[in-house]
């Protein structure tokens, strides 16, 4: 069985889509514990994230990884049944008001789910109050504000201000993500962290959630 696991991890880390899906089906058919498979998924996503940070993988590779992960999760979900794995915690993510882009948001969601987080994805163009309500309802460890446009910077600032005004700022860590974010933008908006790519974003969310 371990051999199958190693081969699976390698195929997934190497983004060999056909092989990963074939191995997943085989393992599911062999009635292997889906949570063992899930552990291997996490091992592989760790490698993918590392390769990205080392400059060996690029956004195209993350898009492919997200696509493979989605299909693997679709195969595993029915056999996981009601039993839940050990959750690493809840994360609320969404694209801020005035911005309707979602590529970064989808990649981050796929990677976080593979990592074992419960992800509440609010979708795009979400006003500050949608984030405030989601924090009240879901009590996440981390909130991720996504945005591609430069104009999203003001929306992120406004959202964080409203989270503060609602008295929730010290209950949650906030990370901003998107191509225009930077250390300066983090300071300006009052976020705890920033990331301009999905792999770094996921690493920082793990750190903020205290599960790194």
């Amino acid at each position: 069985m371990r051999m199958a696991g190693e081969e699976f991890v390698k195929a997934l880390a190497d983004l060999d889509e056909a092989r990963v899906l074939e191995l997943t089906r085989k393992r599911v058919d062999a009635k292997e514990d889906p949570f063992t498979i899930l552990d291997d998924v996490r091992k592989a996503t760790d490698i993918i994230g590392k390769r990205f940070e080392e400059g060996r993988y690029f956004v195209s590779d993350l898009i492919m990884a997200g696509e493979i992960l989605k299909q693997v999760m679709d195969l595993l979900r029915p056999v996981m049944g009601k039993k839940k794995g050990v959750s690493k915690g809840k994360v609320v993510v969404g694209t801020v008001e005035g911005d309707v882009h979602d590529i970064g948001l989808s990649i981050v969601t796929a990677l976080l789910e593979a990592e074992g987080f419960e992800v509440v994805n609010l979708g795009v163009d979400q006003p500050p109050k949608a984030f405030v309500e989601a924090i009240r309802n879901h009590k996440p460890k981390v909130v991720g504000l996504s945005g591609l446009l430069t104009e999203a910077i003001e929306s992120m600032k406004k959202t964080i201000e409203e989270i503060k005004a609602a008295g929730l700022r010290d209950k949650v860590k906030v990370i901003i993500g998107g191509g225009r974010t930077s250390e300066e933008v983090k300071e300006y908006t009052g976020a705890d962290e920033w990331a301009d790519d999905a792999a770094v974003g996921v690493r920082k969310i793990k750190e903020l959630a205290g599960v790194a």
Partner: protein
């Protein structure tokens, strides 16, 4: 006209790979001028009178060397569709402006006052309009495919080919193109009167970006490169001559116009989108060879490619050394210009500038410090500043920061 001449000489020198008297400023925006003049984003995008007035106010209040108002979103598909058979429409529909969106009701874009709030920035979202099975059809005859298959899927007003609504939409589109053209020409005349040079522009595109932006969408084209590389390659090959032709037609500036404007430079505009997404293997196989081919042909025609290297271009910098020296102007959004200088040297005419985040959240003093360092580090050998280097001046840029930038360039940008 002294100011016109002075600014033009400054910009021309850099575009020819030389050092002028000081570093020129090439400012561009979609909506910032409106915010500066006190208009909502909706107003400045849909009311040509207000747009013109705001653009001229900025021209009077600020001392840039080139000032371009591009009040639209990525619209190369319209430009490509019409260029060959109806160049007037092709040339003027390079950017998809709000009024075109109103008429065509395209599925790619979202606009303030229509799908978005009054003050939201217009956005290009894109959509998967071509199925993976249709690559062959695209490769066989790109223009025919765009007209018969894509435009009806792209525009609600063109859904039913040959219907009364279809014909009415096209006729109305022609009228809006005419209105936009006269607004634009009017604006240029106003800017020339204020001493702002007009350097003609021509239109081209990276072939693979065309598929990503307008046909398959970014995510799908990336997946196609892994799953169906042969199909993509055939399509990119077929699109390459299309974008040589759009440049040839749009860049054919009559000699009397060149004489009137005082320049024979034609800037051939290329915004690159997938460069940051692709790993070097995919970039070198599907993106760069075809883009390079278009660059080479455009340079042969005597035009100057002005290329927006969006996002991080770090992984692909080495490939720039394959370009002829001092022929291609490169605006680098997130790549450190020092690194570009070091790796690409004279193979690219370097343009960089302060990011929008600094012009929004910084202070005049911080802006001055940033500019001083930037200019000291890379101005040697010719260099141009593109303020708000990530996409041009954003709506929230603070005028005092932009003023500080101009002053810093006058102080530290002299040769």
């Amino acid at each position: 006209m002294q100011l016109y001449k002075e600014r033009l000489e400054r910009v021309e020198a850099v575009m020819r790979g030389k050092e002028p008297d000081r570093v020129p400023i090439y400012a561009a925006t979609a909506v910032w001028h409106g915010a500066y003049a006190g208009y909502t984003t909706r107003e400045v995008l849909f009311d040509y009178g207000k747009c013109r007035e705001a653009a001229l106010k900025v021209a009077r209040d600020f001392d840039f060397d080139l000032w371009a108002v591009i009040a639209g979103l990525e619209g190369m598909i319209l430009c490509t569709a019409f260029m060959e058979k109806q160049p007037e429409v092709g040339v003027s529909s390079r950017f998809l402006v709000g009024k075109f969106h109103e008429v065509l009701r395209d599925v790619y874009t979202r606009w303030p006052g229509i799908e978005l709030a009054e003050n939201a920035h217009p956005q290009f979202i894109g959509k998967e309009l071509m199925k993976v099975e249709e690559y062959e059809q695209l490769a066989e005859n790109p223009l025919d495919f765009i007209h018969r298959v894509i435009l009806p899927r792209m525009c609600e007003g063109l859904r039913d080919v040959g219907s009364p609504e279809y014909n009415a939409t096209l006729a109305k589109f022609g009228m809006e193109v005419e209105r936009y053209t006269s607004f634009f020409n009017n604006l240029i005349v106003g800017l020339i009167g204020l001493g702002y040079p007009a350097i003609p522009m021509s239109w081209s595109y990276a072939p693979l970006d065309f598929i990503g932006d307008f046909l398959r969408d970014v995510k799908n084209v990336v997946l196609d490169l892994y799953r169906h590389p042969d199909k993509v390659e055939a399509a990119v090959k077929a699109l390459t001559p299309v974008f040589v032709k759009t440049a040839a037609i749009s860049g054919a500036i009559p000699p009397e116009v060149k004489k009137q404007l005082g320049t024979d430079i034609v800037q051939c505009f290329f915004p690159l989108h997938l460069n940051e997404y692709l790993n070097p293997k995919l970039y070198n196989e599907f993106y760069w060879p075809y883009l390079k081919k278009v660059f080479e042909e455009v340079i042969k025609m005597g035009q100057t490619p002005v290329v927006l290297f969006e996002g991080r271009h770090d992984a692909h910098l080495e490939t720039l050394r394959e370009l002829p020296k001092k022929k291609v102007v490169g605006v680098f959004e997130k790549t450190d210009p020092r690194k570009v200088r070091e790796v690409a040297g004279d193979h690219v005419i370097l343009v960089s500038g302060p990011p929008n985040a600094l012009l929004i959240g910084g202070t005049p003093q911080k802006v001055e410090e940033y500019m001083k360092k930037l200019l000291e580090d890379v101005k040697e050998g010719g260099f141009m500043i593109w303020p708000g280097v990530d996409g041009g001046l954003s709506r929230d840029v603070k005028p005092e920061n932009l003023k500080a930038m101009v002053e810093a360039i006058k102080k530290y940008g002299k040769y």
